[in-house]
């Protein structure tokens, strides 16, 4: 069973992605990209301050609660932010952006939860990931198909494949890049 910290982390992961989806619907692609760019610069500044050992009044409790132990503070959030920014900036079609956000939020978030709770069958090329996690990724990313149809299916399969690879790049960056490749380059 995942620790409560990991479970809460994934809930934040899912909710942030859904919040980005809501933001896209409410204020559109241009304003959303501006918000995400500003958040990235603010996030980099916060991460920089934490790396230098400075205390930040409102941020420290959040980092203590949600950040993985023995990692650079804000590391996962930084790559999540970069992934979302590339999704907004590189994909022109809003349906494609919505699909990519669902795959990142629901697919990646639920695959970590299910994989660490029920995962027993390790993937032969990546011992850190399980087939149960991959299956959860495929199932919970399915709402993306509503926006993009068969192309969404292709994006889900490719993103699940990339997520399961033993890459040295954070999943939060690799998954949006996989979606951008499918939606922007293969179309």
């Amino acid at each position: 069973m995942p620790g409560i910290n990991e479970f809460e982390r994934q809930l934040v992961h899912i909710n942030l992605g859904l919040a980005c989806l809501l933001m896209l619907a409410l204020i559109g692609r241009t304003a959303s990209t501006l918000v995400v760019s500003a958040t990235l610069i603010a996030g980099m500044t916060i991460m920089h301050m934490k790396m230098r050992g400075e205390k930040i009044l409102l941020v420290d409790p959040l980092i203590d609660r949600f950040e993985r132990a023995h990692t650079v503070p804000g590391y996962g959030s930084l790559w999540y932010n970069v992934g979302v920014l590339l999704t907004f900036a590189l994909l022109v079609n809003e349906a494609h952006i919505a699909s990519a956000l669902i795959i990142l939020a629901l697919g990646d978030g639920m695959s970590t939860i299910i994989g660490s709770m029920h995962g027993t069958h390790r993937i032969f090329y990546n011992s850190k990931k399980t087939w149960e996690g991959v299956l959860a990724f495929l199932v919970f990313s399915a709402p993306a198909i509503i926006f993009t149809g068969w192309l969404g299916v292709l994006a889900i399969i490719f993103a699940a494949f990339v997520e399961a690879l033993p890459l040295k790049i954070d999943d939060n960056l690799a998954i949006p890049l996989a979606c951008v490749v499918v939606f922007r380059i293969l179309v």
């Binding site: 241009t30 610069i41 991460m47 900036a89 040295k168 790049i169």
Partner: protein, 168 residues
């Protein structure tokens, strides 16, 4: 054209145009970048991250050149008059922005970030201000600078791993 690009490129200030035009020249931009790196390395005595900084910068430039070769996006100045002559190459990505934000990405946790970050924000702003890039070009370039940092870190971690294995 998106409303941010339309607004920023409609601004007009003599001093700002002079500075933006100065950095638009590739030679001036390279000199400014090297001068900043040199100043931060020797004045702030920061050389521990020099390897990752240089590799991030080189990978960023390579990514930009590769994308420009295979993906042609027309510049905004092709349709709307700009403050400088319109460059003929692809609008996406902004090489200036990738270079400037590569310095920022590689300096996280180092004192020099305080110098690199305002420089990078100004460079990104200046590209849209001059009318040679759209807001989406520079936003994506910020993301691509982070990608080049991730790749540079992964490459250096791999090299370090091989060195350790070799020493054993």
């Amino acid at each position: 054209m998106d409303f941010i690009t339309a607004f920023v490129s409609s601004l007009n200030n003599g001093g700002l145009t002079f500075l933006a035009d100065f950095l638009n020249n590739e030679f001036n931009m390279a000199i400014a970048t090297l001068a900043l790196i040199g100043a931060c390395t020797f004045v702030l005595k920061e050389n521990r991250h020099l390897k990752v900084l240089v590799l991030t910068l080189l990978l960023g430039l390579a990514i930009s050149a590769s994308i420009k070769l295979i993906w042609h996006v027309p510049r905004p100045c092709a349709t709307v008059p700009a403050k400088i002559p319109c460059p003929p190459d692809s609008s996406f990505p902004s090489t200036h922005t990738i270079a400037a934000f590569s310095l920022v990405a590689a300096s996280l946790g180092y004192a020099s970030l305080v110098i690199y970050l305002p420089f990078a924000i100004f460079v990104a702003f200046s590209r849209v201000y001059l009318g040679v890039h759209t807001f989406f070009d520079v936003a994506a370039s910020l993301g691509l600078a982070m990608v080049s940092y991730a790749l540079a870190s992964a490459v250096l971690a791999r090299i370090e791993g091989l060195k350790h294995a070799g020493n054993k």
